[in-house]
Symmetry: C2
Amino acid sequence: MSKKPMEVDRYEIRFSGSGGQGIVTAAIILAEAIASEGKYAVCQTQNYGPEARGGASKADIVVSQDVVDYPKPIKLDLLLAMNQASCDAYVCDLKPRGLLIVDATLVSQIPIQRVIALPFSQIARDVSGKDLAANMVALGAVGCVTDIVSLESLEKALLARIPTGTEEMNEKAFSAGVEAAGKIDLRALPAAIGEDDDEV
Amino acid sequence: MSKKPMEVDRYEIRFSGSGGQGIVTAAIILAEAIASEGKYAVCQTQNYGPEARGGASKADIVVSQDVVDYPKPIKLDLLLAMNQASCDAYVCDLKPRGLLIVDATLVSQIPIQRVIALPFSQIARDVSGKDLAANMVALGAVGCVTDIVSLESLEKALLARIPTGTEEMNEKAFSAGVEAAGKIDLRALPAAIGEDDDEV
């Protein structure tokens, strides 16, 4: 998979799932990785309270060429949904050419075809014996399919943020996510949500 | 110290310091604690890039009766400054009746008198042998002096967020911060920045 540096004015990402899945941690690592490259301004936000829909937890990242003047996402370029509730709640916030990434272990009803569905929780179990690191598997997959940040920066940010003693487990999980997503041909996906013109 | 529940429309908090001081972690714990009480909507934000001033790292929390429509702080009610650079950079963002809290181990030049200065890093060293938990000492002090959240909620949020195996160290640090701040008579501070009408 090619990783050409991306040129964007504004790029909006949402990580979502249930509490305890490490959504916020994964979002902070991604935000810090993007910021570390010094190319973009990054605004990373958690909202708690009336804004959360149906028990879905979320963490947003807005990436911008300049100061992020409006820090809330308007329409998402990338949505990671780590459970069914968050997939249902936020899929409508995607741009037509936005990309949905789901944990196929926990999301069985996928509402659109422009999606990357990988069993993040199952992969985490396979590499570490527990689901805990599913967020890092997902982060690896996100890093693999988006050109907004390099995998090197992402791995460095991961190591700086995770608890001492968990490096090996989290790195393994991250690498497994990169590997799983690397096998997917993004060009085979429909170009836009609702379209069915995949090039297979 | 009395902990009457506070009634506010909007309350703005900034935690600031240098990278590696655990500013973001402390802010997330505070945000999650406030949100857990179900009384307020909470928006917690990190900005990276051109917005950061002079190497100072910051994490913001906006607390509101309703959905947080504008997630950036306008004027701070509470500023925690864990180093000199962040104190210098952000003190001007305080409201006249806002409160500055500084790590007196690292901030020697305190620009205003409406301040709580406690040696968070030194206290962390005393209770745990290292500076690492200074953020939790500071969090305890913040919890003690603000009525926006109960200490019980804060401690619960802390335990849910910190790495397994570090509970004892972080709880000790947190309690030491509560204790140190508990000895301070807030009524003895000038009522507003620039005023010198303290009631001593």
